[in-house]
Symmetry: C2
Subunit: 254 residues, 2 copies
């Protein structure tokens, strides 16, 4: 498998996404506006934020009544008790809590800050909070199906979010929902260039694609979608971003 | 800052890299072979492995005498005591050790498996091991200077390695040495699209670039170098991949 030049194409969507907006139609419209078309094996990378908005995962904080436990945590961590309440509701487990940083395991299994709940780049971000999609793989699959049936092109979809990580400064984009692409490229059992068997190399290519797409998305550019073209990936009918989650049993850090 | 299409161009180098090989010349030769030239603001991404080989960081294991401590660890972790000895020599601290997995803090400050020591894709990988470059930022700077003086183009250089991470399966490429590019893009204090101040968003763009480049490099394709073209980054004279290392004080996971 030799490699080609890869292109990462930004797809602006200037509309403020609202509940029930059709992300697939907006993507196709943006392509049309920029005089582009889809190719077979394009990967469409979509920021979680617009998926969550379209799926009506925005919560007005005035509707949230914090529990006693949330009030107590909020006091200790100096945070809004209503946000704490949402973080707890969206999580199955608190991994770490210290100095106002709350790392949880979300219902999906992701380990991230604040159960992925965010108040940036949403309308009235002081009064509202945005939750992760309920089932990001399903969201990816739905968008993939809609775009494939409208364009007759074979594509993959990756939904991304911006996560911090231990040990390293700064956040990077990772894949939280996928459709049509195997998220990990394994070299285990393959011979290296000198004939020695590789024993441990498995590359989280879906996360690398998510990170690559972030470079054209940014946070302030109204580019919530990117297309990656030219990358040779393995397709998969039954795939899930959960393949990227290390099980607790195998994880040395929780 | 609106975004362009980004290109990631693979640069094959088929030569087996040996001590004293000039990486800058090999990169320029590969460009020439593929009828390409450099553009101002191109980012050249280079796999650590060829840097280490050129800098003669290969160790013949028969020359390594393990200490008593290394022999003891090797017995418990069921590993080669000579490799353990090298891991210990290259580290300042063991972060985690369990079931044959050894996570250390390297002399540079990176938290990674086996102090970044690797036996894959090197000549006679059963008898040899390859260490990380001694000062990857300096290696990046040297290659950047050489290429800029030969081409008169303004470029940046990122040296990458493949690291695992807690919580998520699979490895991704990260930046371990940089020259001419600010590794983190901070949005702190900027207003989001709705006028709310961003408080925590800092993107580790050098790691994202490293990950993007891995997609064309692979592990078996003899593509140890990639060029990223079209990404708008902030240049920096004094930058270091160490900016990507979270200090122990700020790290919740050690």
């Amino acid at each position: 498998m030799s490699s080609n030049t890869i292109e990462i194409i930004p797809l602006p969507i200037t509309k403020d996404i609202e509940s029930k907006d059709k992300i697939d139609s907006l993507i196709l419209q943006s392509l049309k506006n920029s005089d582009r078309s889809l190719f077979d094996r394009d990967i469409i990378i979509i920021a979680q934020k617009i998926i969550s908005k379209a799926e009506d995962r925005i919560i007005n904080l005035s509707s949230v009544s914090p529990s006693k436990q949330s009030l107590e945590i909020a006091r200790r961590q100096r945070k809004d008790a209503r946000i704490i309440e949402l973080i707890m509701r969206e999580s199955v487990n608190v991994v770490k809590m210290s100095g106002g940083v709350i790392i949880t395991e979300t219902r999906h299994g992701f380990i991230c800050a604040n159960s992925g709940i965010d108040q940036s780049n949403i309308l009235d971000g002081h009064q509202n909070a945005l939750l992760l999609p309920e089932a990001p793989d399903r969201s990816a699959q739905r968008i993939r199906n809609a775009i494939m049936s409208k364009t007759n092109k074979q594509i993959a979809v990756i939904i991304t979010d911006t996560f911090g990580r231990p040990f390293r400064e700064g956040q990077t984009n990772v894949a939280i929902g996928i459709a049509g692409i195997k998220p990990i490229r394994s070299y285990i059992g393959k011979n290296d260039l000198y004939g020695k068997k590789l024993r441990a190399t498995e590359i989280a290519i879906a996360d690398e694609i998510a990170s690559a797409a972030e470079l054209v998305m940014g946070k302030l550019e109204r580019v919530p979608v990117a297309i990656m073209r030219g990358y040779k990936y393995s397709t998969s009918k039954h795939c899930s971003a959960c393949e990227l989650i290390r099980s607790r049993r195998k994880d040395l850090f929780r």
